[in-house]
């Protein structure tokens, strides 16, 4: 058997890589198109603004939209300051040693825990031990723990990407460490940090197992942080899993997928701004 010529081989490789790469985007497009095709016809203004009736067979998803915003928003509001502060401590306020290794190891372990385990922990600790019940706040706190490592790691990377020369210049012009961090480092790292925060928000919005065990699945509009609430992702799961209404399940999924896509695009846009800035 003769070996193929290098030029022929080159052609084969290009075609093969191209097809496989196209498959990646193809799978994504297929899922999106499939869900939107089944769901979008059922999405209307009324669907977005009305309460569900008959367990979601009829009516809309307004309480779930509110619940999702509350649970995911609060989770990120809790996780972002803690995560960013941890990252600042790790990069700016301490030298590499046992302590930083331990914090990093802890964050990595936390990132590797399956979400259902977080859900179980949140249920036992927040809902039962702290008597917060199945509520927005139980769900949000548990989700915050879940996305904390993501916020820490992405913020840390963004902070490390700030040229060390900036720090020296800032010191050289008479800044304290805190002034250096707030004026120069955070300023430059902000788009990168925001990217991590937005991606975390996306994970909170799409999480199912955790919210089922901690925020519950009440169909009513939550009036306080201590009310139970059902998020969009969980609503979609319930509608389809219990055979309540596939059209409404697809419609809910469409809303969810569009929200996630919007968040990812926002993160991507922030990332591009970040790269342009650091370069």
């Amino acid at each position: 058997m003769t070996r193929p010529s290098p030029v022929a081989l080159q052609r084969v490789v290009v075609v093969a890589l191209w097809s496989l790469a196209t498959m990646t985007i193809g799978v994504l497009l297929f899922i999106i198109v499939y869900i939107l095709a089944h769901g979008l016809p059922h999405v209307s203004w009324g669907f977005l603004t009305q309460s569900p009736e008959y367990m979601g067979r009829k009516g809309g998803i307004f309480p779930m939209v509110v619940g999702t915003v509350m649970v995911a928003g609060l989770a990120v509001l809790v996780a972002a300051p803690i995560g960013v502060a941890t990252a600042i401590y790790l990069t700016e306020y301490t030298r590499e040693g046992r302590m930083t290794a331990m914090i990093r190891f802890g964050a990595d372990c936390l990132a590797g825990i399956p979400s259902i385990v977080f859900g179980l922990f949140g249920f036992v600790f927040f809902a039962i031990t702290l008597h917060l019940g199945l509520s927005v706040i139980s769900g949000a706190l548990t989700l915050a723990l879940m996305v904390l490592p993501t916020v820490v790691r992405t913020s840390e990377e963004a902070l490390r990407a700030v040229p060390s020369a900036y720090r020296e210049v800032s010191y050289g012009l008479g800044s304290t460490r805190w002034q250096m961090v707030t004026h120069v480092v955070l300023h430059s790292a902000l788009p990168g940090i925001s990217t991590g925060v937005v991606l975390s928000l996306g994970r909170c919005v799409s999480e199912t197992a955790v919210v089922m065990l901690t925020a519950g699945s009440a169909l009513r509009l939550p009036h306080s942080l201590f009310d139970s609430s059902r998020t969009l992702a969980l609503h979609f799961y319930m509608l389809s899993r219990e055979g309540i209404s596939m059209p409404n399940a697809y419609a809910t999924a469409s809303v969810l997928i569009i929200a996630i896509l919007a968040l990812n695009m926002l993160a991507y846009w922030l990332m591009r701004r970040f790269v342009a800035k650091v370069r």
């Binding site: 030298r95 040229p163 020369a165 900036y166 720090r167 020296e168 210049v169 800032s170 010191y171 050289g172 012009l173 008479g174 800044s175 304290t176 002034q179 004026h183 120069v184 300023h187 430059s188 800035k277």
Partner: protein, 253 residues
Amino acid sequence: MRAQPKVAVRGFTASFGGKVALRDLSLDVFPRERLAIIGPASSGKTTFLRSLNRLNDLHPAFSHSGQVLLDGKDIYDADMDVVQLRRRVGMVYAVPVPLPWSVYDNLVYGLKLAGIRDRTTLDGRVEAALKSVALWDEVKDRLKEPARNLSGGQQQRLCLARVLVLQPEVLILDEPCSGLDPISTGKVEDALAELKARHSIVLVTNNTKQAARSSDRTAFFLMGELIEVGPTAQLFTRPVQQRTNDYLIGQFG
């Protein structure tokens, strides 16, 4: 013979994790003089400069002995305000590092850190500093532009002006012209000649011609030690030490 030294380095030894970068070094910088420091790579020139504004302190393994006296006061004393010190001893780096802001924001950053907020004062200081580095005419209409849009030579003069707005007593420059074209280099050197009327200047350079052109005295460093210091004209024509002569005629380094 002369006035009191502005900066007096006395028996200064600096090391990074056991690796000695400067060994028992003593050297004076007088008011209104330009002192050039020459020497081959890793002879301790940069460490010496960064010891004068305590920037070496940022290195985790840095340790030192000996004194650096600024107006007679040891800057390594426990009660020294390091932030204040770095305003008095302004540093310019080898590579221009404009912060990712506008030209104007770069220039006023140090002043704002020092608590100066008055717009008229800020504008006045900015204009004066830009004029002293011959940059005013080039950027007076571009103050709101990102500093990174300036050319390399303009950026380096901006970095010099950014330090000058603070009116430092001592100006330390670490190979400020290493990345610049001859015309930009000329502009920086002209600026230094003017600035020595008000500042003590310490200029580290790899370019012996630059040292010969734009300094009053020159010190020759080798492997962390001061080999020789003297009036520039004398050091370049009649060096006392054989090793200085060897370096100048290019036998090593």
